[in-house]
């Protein structure tokens, strides 16, 4: 990847770990048989972008499990959300879930992700990256996009002069990002084919499931009590929703995530709620999770509450930036008086 000559700056990856550039997904894809993909923890990706004043769907970095280190040749404003990690700028610890100014040439590192699997790092102004059907999200099947490597250069759309100085303390930026409840509880609503599984559906809620290492962005595989399809007969391929809980042949439960093939021929027992898909994005292989049945109304109420939280955060960030005059910052270095 070569950064464009017309970019406002270049971000160079020093240590890539398992990081890719993504966004909220390719919503036009499924119509053409292509999965939506995009950030697996949608909420954390939105939070990271909101914290730097970007549109929710702006391209950003998705960091999975491993350490990331990079350096930019212009001043930038970044924010990290998602799994907890140790964020440093030139070796000095900086907070996650807050906007953090980084000066040109300073080394940014995110290490020791824990309590979750994926973190999201947004840069104010975002990146100039190729799009496919309107999205930069990598698609492993189509061979579009992919993981960054040491030396990858990412074109920055804008530079942001430092907005921190001696007069402002970190408290100003205590933006109060709403925390997600800990513990891996995954809410599901009834799937369209739940009747095919008759009385075996209850098994889904009896015991925790152990997530196995073959899990990825396409789907999570887990061992535990398996509901059984009680009907027979040929099933035609149909569109399957992200979050579909299926029981394919074998001894594992399959929960489809955003990289799922858009059509499949397995009956759908249950469907993970959008909020709990974010929980699944943070579960590591070897960890256990529990399913919890919720009604559609409960799930909708929770989704609405989450939207309100994000709206509140967006407003708070906007007012902080307005107060700092950050929105009109010229593209060259300038520290607020």
């Amino acid at each position: 990847m070569t950064a464009g000559a017309l970019a406002a700056g270049v971000l160079t990856i020093v240590e890539a770990g398992s990081t890719q550039i993504t966004d909220l997904g390719r919503t036009r894809g499924p119509r053409y048989g292509v999965p939506v993909n995009g950030a697996l923890d949608q909420r954390s990706a939105r939070v990271a972008n909101i914290l730097v004043g970007n549109p929710d769907g702006a391209p950003l970095l998705e960091i999975t499990a491993l350490d990331l280190e990079f350096v930019a040749d212009v001043d930038i404003l970044i924010a990290v959300a998602g799994a907890d990690g140790h964020l440093t700028v030139d070796g000095v610890g900086r907070p996650s879930n807050e906007p953090v100014s980084v000066c040109a040439g300073e080394t940014v590192a995110l290490r020791q992700l824990q309590g979750g699997l994926r973190a999201y790092l947004a840069v104010r102004g975002s990146f100039e990256v190729p799009l496919l059907l309107g999205s930069c999200a990598p698609d492993s099947v189509l061979g579009f996009g992919g993981r960054l490597v040491a030396g990858s250069e990412i074109a920055l759309r804008s530079a942001t002069a430092p907005i921190f100085n001696d007069h402002f303390t970190a408290e100003l930026y205590s933006l109060d990002v709403p925390r997600v409840a800990s513990g891996f509880i995954v809410d599901v609503t009834d799937g369209p084919d739940i009747e095919d599984f008759a009385d075996t559906v209850a098994r889904l809620f009896e015991q925790p499931y152990l997530v196995t290492p073959t899990s990825n962005h396409i789907g999570l595989r887990m061992t535990g009590p398996l509901p059984q399809r009680r009907t027979t007969g040929e099933v035609l391929s149909r569109g399957v929703p992200v979050g579909a809980v299926e029981v394919p042949p074998g001894d594992e439960l399959l929960v489809l995530h955003r990289g799922r093939g858009v059509t499949a021929g397995y009956p759908v027992l249950a469907v993970v709620t959008s909020g709990s898909l974010d929980v699944l994005a943070q579960v590591r292989p070897g960890q256990r999770l529990r399913f919890r049945p919720v009604t559609a109304a409960e799930a909708a109420a929770r989704a609405r509450a989450e939207l309100v939280e994000l709206d509140t955060l967006r407003r708070r960030v906007r007012s902080v930036f307005a107060a700092l005059d950050a929105l009109s910052t010229p593209p060259t270095g300038r520290t607020l008086p």
Binding site: T27, R28, G29, P30, R31, Y32, G33, V34, P35, V36, L132, L133, V141, L142, G143, F144, T189, D190, G191, P192, E234, V235, L236, S237, R238, G239, V240, P241, V242, G243, A244, P248, P249, G250, R260, G261, V262, T263, A264, G265, V268, V271, V272, T273, S274, A296, A299, A300, A303, R304, L307
Partner: protein, 236 residues
């Protein structure tokens, strides 16, 4: 009152499945595709994407913008106004697909033949004889989803799916058949390979056919396969 022509059911909190309840499969297929086109064209607020298949359409929504109940009511009304006798395409295009059938036993052709109680040659004949209708675009990568060849029995899926199925393979499962435009894992038995390149990421959509177009398979030998390798798939 006439029986409803579709069954509308929530498919999680962000999608609705509209399944045909018509006894005529062709009419049901046309109905769900007309519905998909209507919803696409109408730019219904809150609708993110429509995935029409053989007998159903999955309609993905942003639940913050539209409730599944209201959307269901709306879709039921739309369905009432659709003419499921109207053809999807007045002038379907035909795609000729040369296939090197798996006569050397590298893939699953022999297993498929044995399960049907037929010879390998009969399987090739039955697969390459019909003109297929592209029923929908599916996974992976916009595969042309077809009806199965007129085999006596449905084709069992592989007991354990392959981790890597290369692009261009021709496969069958149940009462379905397809060509795989992009390499992906897969559980369908593979009976041959086409030398044609199906996927073109510079185009939108990435594949040259659309639902309602026609596909014909033509057996070729290895020499012809080699000479056609990399040719783009185009209509007649």
């Amino acid at each position: 009152m006439a029986p409803a022509s579709v069954v509308i059911s929530p498919s999680g909190t962000s999608a609705v499945r509209v399944a045909s309840a018509l006894s005529d499969r062709e009419a049901g297929w046309r109905l769900v595709h007309h519905l998909a086109r209507f919803v696409d064209a109408a730019r219904v607020p809150g609708v993110v994407c429509v995935i029409p298949t053989y007998d159903a359409a999955l309609i993905e929504v942003d639940p913050a913008e539209v409730s599944l109940e209201r959307l269901g009511d709306y879709l039921a009304q739309v369905v009432e106004g659709l003419d499921h006798d109207r053809p999807l395409t007045l002038t379907p295009r035909t795609f000729d697909v040369p296939v090197l059938y798996d006569l050397d036993g590298e893939l699953d052709l022999r297993t498929v033949a044995e399960a049907q109680g037929l010879s390998v040659q009969e399987i090739v004949r039955l697969h390459s004889d019909p003109t297929y209708v592209v029923r929908c675009l599916g996974a992976p990568g916009g595969s042309p989803m077809l009806d199965g060849p007129p085999f006596p029995h449905p084709v069992p899926r592989l007991a354990s799916p392959r981790a890597h199925v290369p692009q261009g393979v021709v496969s069958v499962a149940g009462r379905q058949a397809t060509i795989t435009p992009a390499a992906a894992p897969g559980g369908w038995p593979l009976i041959g390979r086409t030398p044609l390149v199906v996927l073109d990421l510079a185009a939108e959509p990435f594949v040259p056919y659309e639902p309602g177009d026609l596909v014909r398979f033509r057996p070729i030998d290895r020499d012809e396969y080699e000479s056609l390798l990399g040719t783009r798939m185009v209509a007649r």
